[in-house]
Point group: C2
Chain length 350, copies 2
């Protein structure tokens, strides 16, 4: 059970040569055995491996074979349950295939993202990246390094509008439109948004769709009905506080992601604003306890784990070379989950 006694950092790890010597065979045979080929001396090799505690050197294999069998998942906010779900989805795909996943968090910062990606080069065979911004050239760096990348939630633009990197998106516009239509159907006309950063794809698309959807209903949006919350909890809270201070308070708010919605809810609670009686609220991205709140939250939901699964599938096919077609753009559908956080605009101050 305990195995051989080791010093603090253990003795030098056993190499394939040690195993070969002990088993009285060549390193070739050990290598073959380890890779599942049939060898006559299997029992002796097995014994040697077990007693020496041999594990092939990852660095040596990587150097020889040119692949690390590791994939990086880089996301802007690891504490966001959406990304946790994406990771779960992605892992269901890789675990069968012998790949190890490493996670990294860029803290919603393109600068951090660059550092993180830079550190990944040479350590991984591919990157699943949910970018912090649309504007950086970090993906270019990865391409130069010959690393396959698949984006989550980033739309890429070439001159002719074709995707130039694989990407798995959701229908941000459709989802947002459904949310706004829902509010308008309830009779709202004073509708505000707590928006994500306009530099990110989901931030930009949801914000644009918000304006378009309202315009389609002949409703115009005052400037101060657009407040930015940076996709962060605190940002959502502060953005909502600003909305509440407005002279012409909105009667409904669309919040562009789950984390900001949490912040918004806190602001409403503190201010004593009742949902949905005083204010209707609708969020983008579901959350584990959205349904358990005093006013169960109506949200635009999306298939989060599927997004991770699909993206990882794509990435793996690129890495292995099974797929060398033109970059793909996959768009998943959203669905409106109606609960109880929306009602008619009851309160009507001047």
């Amino acid at each position: 059970m305990a195995g051989p006694r080791n010093g603090v950092n253990g003795p030098r790890a056993a190499t394939i040569g040690d195993v070969a010597r002990r088993a009285g065979v060549s390193v070739s045979s050990v290598s073959r055995y380890v890779h599942g080929e049939h060898v006559r001396t299997a029992v002796a090799i097995e014994e040697a491996i077990a007693t020496l505690g041999f594990r092939p050197s990852h660095a040596a294999q990587t150097l020889k074979l040119g692949r690390t069998m590791t994939i990086a998942l880089v996301v802007p906010d690891i504490t966001n349950p959406f990304f946790a779900a994406v990771v779960r989805g992605a892992e269901t795909v890789t675990s069968q295939q012998g790949y190890t996943i490493v996670l990294a968090d860029t803290d919603e910062s393109p600068a951090r993202e660059r550092v993180v990606l830079d550190g990944m080069i040479g350590r991984v065979d591919g990157v699943l990246l949910a970018p912090a911004s649309e504007d950086d050239d970090n993906p270019l760096m990865l391409r130069r390094a010959g690393l396959p990348v698949v984006f989550i939630d980033r739309r890429t633009h070439t001159a002719d509008g074709e995707p130039d990197v694989d990407t798995v998106l959701v229908d941000n516009r459709g989802g947002t439109r459904a949310a706004i239509d829902h509010l308008v159907a309830h009779g709202h006309r004073r509708i505000a948004i707590v928006s994500g950063p306009a530099e990110s794809t989901p931030g930009r698309e949801r914000l644009e769709a918000f304006g378009d959807a309202l315009a389609a209903h002949g409703i115009s949006v005052p400037d101060d009905y657009v407040q930015f919350g940076g996709f962060r909890e605190q940002g959502g809270r502060e953005a909502t506080e600003r909305l509440l201070q407005l002279r012409d308070r909105p009667t409904a708010v669309f919040v562009a992601n789950n984390v900001m919605t949490l912040g918004a809810l806190q602001a409403l609670l503190v201010a004593g604003v009742q949902v949905p009686d005083d204010l209707s609220i609708i969020g983008f991205d579901d959350h584990s306890f959205a349904g358990l709140l005093a006013a169960p939250l109506t949200v635009v939901d999306r298939p989060m784990e599927e997004q991770g699964r699909v993206a990882m599938d794509l990435l793996l096919n690129r890495i292995t070379g099974r797929d060398d077609s033109a970059p793909r753009r996959i768009v998943l559908d959203t669905v409106l989950v109606e609960r109880k956080s929306c009602a008619g605009p009851h309160s009507s101050p001047p």
Copy 2:
């Protein structure tokens, strides 16, 4: 800006040999230049590196030098803001030293933890581990592989009570005692716990200290006042629901971590139980919006980032060999953050 045009996965990356050839020097000189030594041909080398886009092969360096310059951070629940804070703290230490951090999530499962750690061997120089359980022998596996480990929140036991692995703990018992004393001081005697898993150090220590603290006040705990929530949000919700169904409902609840506290709060909200009027609640580990709730939450807080910082310091010193003393146990203090979720036991059913 765009650099040379590449094919899909780029051409074969430039090696140190390519650089040497182009600069008309030996690979030794290139290597020396890259490592900051003075060489006469610096400009030519620099030019060659830039135009070829040379980056040293990480695998080759690792194989040659025997170190990966990578450290793994393995935690049971990456969405728990506590671990996010630990990661932040740890990163402040490593970023200065050229180390890359990779994250991994074990989903509170010892089995997953084993798979994850197994995958890390050979890929990292050390592991910062917040174990899912006290009972597995995963650390043994790491020791066998010669990997330095530092624990977060796991107390290790040798026969003679000495720590056998470095570990950074918090004073779970002191913190819990403070929480219970606080409730008792408010007049409570019917005090329940939503506990973490007894197989984990923080779960076990907080649960034991809960019993001890109440015993010290001459208060006994009915069996059904102890409900387990597995350190998960849903677990906390369900545990709290069970408490609410009790014939002799508790008047106060101690919840053993932040994530479960969130769940508990949801259960109370759904059940229409007012905090603190109907029930007092006190949590372990602060949360970004604990202070912003309708009833701002009283909690036992701890220096989360410091815990990460201290642990990473220790780990780095082990990795570099600067520290080869006996395994260390560092215990950080907790502090009671008094807000408004505790009051006297007003309601008193039979």
